[in-house]
């Protein structure tokens, strides 16, 4: 697979490390009433879709940026690559 890095252009997937579903960006509030349930969901349960999947890739052998890659899990076709920090900020995360 070739991942089209937003800053560096097309890079081979072997330069990257895979983490998982991009919902891992949305870390729950540890002080909330339902924190234990929310962290169980966050840490262990997955949508695991057959089709379009947003996922976190780390450019370990490159510029060490985190990317959110939108990829089809049935065909391996990559339709979108964004910097994870841009995605996180768009979702209201400050850091």
């Amino acid at each position: 697979m070739i991942i089209n890095h937003p800053l560096l252009g097309p890079r081979d997937a072997s330069e990257f490390t895979y983490l998982g579903d991009a919902s891992l960006i949305d870390r729950p509030d540890g002080m909330a009433e339902n924190a234990a349930d929310a962290f169980y969901d966050y840490a262990y349960l997955r949508d695991n879709p057959a089709g379009e999947h947003q996922e976190l890739w780390y450019h370990e052998a490159g510029d060490r940026s985190w990317l959110v890659v939108t990829r089809n899990t049935l065909t391996h076709e990559i339709s979108k690559v964004e910097l994870a920090r841009d995605v996180a900020r768009a979702r209201g995360r400050s850091k």
Binding site: A43, D47, H53, T73
Partner: protein, 416 residues
Amino acid sequence: MRYSGFRVIKEALTGHKGWKPVWREPEPKPHYDVIIIGGGGHGLATAHYLSKVYGLRNVAVVEKGWIGGGNVGRNTTIVRSNYLLDGNEPFYEFSLKLWEGLEQDVNYNAMMSQRGIINLFHTDGQRDAYIRRGNAMILNGADAELLDADQVRAEHPYLNFDDARFPIKGGLVQRRAGTARHDAVAWGYARSADLHGVDIIQNCEVTGLRIENGTCLGVETSRGFIGASKVGCAVAGNSGRVMGMAGMRLPIESHVLQAFVSEGLKPVLPSVITFGAGHFYVSQSDKGGLVFGGDIDGYNTYAQRGNLPVVEDVCEGGMALMPMIGRARLLRMWGGVMDMSMDGSPIIDRTPVQGLYFNGGWCYGGFKATPASGYCFAHLLAKDEPHPVATAYRLDRFRTGRMIDEKGAGNQPNLH
């Protein structure tokens, strides 16, 4: 029709006109006591034990394609019980004992070959870990034997013992481990289940689960609705999709594992061998091909094919372990979709939906577990309580903190 040597001779003398198809192709009935979704190794084994051991006859297996066409048809056929943890080892040892009697039980030649497995170690730390594992196996009634480098050399002289970085220091052996003919396992279970009255319904894709007031009433399929008192799901890589029909999210990601077969060679490997310094394992099939594999690719996928970086990694592991493999040509390679769980261990349990049961999360170790998985799932379906050797395989163990994490890798499925 029972298979036997006498039968083979009789058929040989009468022109082989007496062989019959080994299972029926029934139309689905409107209602079953138990429906098993998934006609793979685990689903068919469940049907066999449900009907033969637990006496349930009104049972159906529904399969979207042809039986045995999923992971039971695309694994590396290894059978073993060399696990460490209390939640796992009794289960896998139970499975190995069932393997030892499988062919007599189902009256089908599964070419079970107890040629042994050796896990090589390359450092003192690894040796200590294998001693601990071997002791855990022995405590649970399995067999384990520690070999030093000279003993390994006597059995496997062709290995790369004096590698500068990863010299072979010895190995942990399980002599009762081995290989079995994977397709024959599925066919043998299917034939036995069919003989005990189970309907095996192929080309029948489950498109939905009919759930009313928290109770599962049956399955919607491409051949219409089929009612059931209990529905068991054993669909491996597609677990997330099927259980998603019940609105459930699972502690599972689907990943691809690749496997490889070389051209046929003269007998060179006496047993299954695993490399301790990289992810590579190999055995030789009875046809002579070297059957080998390594790590999963590491990203979510439902495509039954992988990518080249892992092919390179596996072949490098092979060259590091046994350089002679470089002379063999690769004949075939393929991928299977693994239901990778969050601790690397499986789930056999009830679900929050009444009448819906789940069997999955087998990661890349489902084949060796086939008999025990079927037996324990049948026990759960028949008696509504877990089998004694499968009590740790709870669906909610991640919520309660009772993970069974052989590798200690945490909730990162691509590291298990």
